[in-house]
Symmetry: C2
Subunit: 143 residues, 2 copies
């Protein structure tokens, strides 16, 4: 993991600060997970995170990774996605945005908000309001 990243990229130091700001105690494991996930906008599964941390020499348990991901999501540091039924994906981009999804390759690509414009949306049912919009544009390979 780079300690010197471009401005805006969250290095290990920036991560620690960011966790503290969110009221999350910056333990060694959490900082490593945050540094991995928050270094750039990306989509990772829990298993991918465990594999990357371990191949980088980190000592971290499966339970801690899952607990940490849920904790981060609860604090708005990451966002959990349900695009395929198989497993959860964790998106380090928490700004509003949408996704392309290629089921064949598993690729998940961010779509910025301005790329989509709704000229009509249904009113939410009585007693409810819109909490967010999940838009997944499913792709297929052009033959």
């Amino acid at each position: 993991m780079e300690l010197t990243g471009p401005p805006g990229a969250a290095g290990t130091n920036g991560c620690e600060r960011r966790l503290t700001e969110c009221g999350v105690r910056p333990t060694a494991q959490r900082v490593r997970i945050a540094a991995l996930l928050l270094s750039a906008p990306q989509h990772l599964s829990a298993e991918q995170i465990i594999a990357q941390l371990r191949s980088a020499g980190a000592r971290v348990s499966k339970a801690t990774v899952y607990n940490t991901l849920n904790l981060f999501a609860a604090h708005g540091l990451i966002r959990q996605l349900s695009v395929d039924g198989a497993r959860a994906w964790f998106d380090s981009n928490v700004e509003p945005h949408y996704h392309f999804h290629d089921a064949e390759t598993g690729a998940l690509i961010d779509v910025p908000v301005p790329a989509v414009e709704f000229s009509r949306l249904p009113p939410p049912p009585p007693g409810t309001e819109v909490a967010g919009i999940d838009l997944v544009i499913r792709l297929r390979r052009k033959m």
Copy 2:
């Protein structure tokens, strides 16, 4: 299960025909699952289907229900939804449409296509084309 439904509702008879038309052999279990699921537009989980079939006196195994749901989905009779990570939901409405989702209650409500209008959509990445659009409008309780 009603044998005499309103026109358009798929009774046990209509189901049998519909399975045959799709190239799916209409066995007793498949017809019962189809009759349950296709009787009206609805969203059911595999466990809900098993429970309803058994409480109605049907003898059906878990493996057969899962196999059948996958088979139906592969033939376009139903559509599998990924709205929460916890489990798959099977939608008997295969016409294009969108959804409201209330995470608190688990409620899943259809949104007809004309209720949503896109005035802008991003071009799909090179080599791909749009296979479909999954839109989930997440709801929260108004305080």
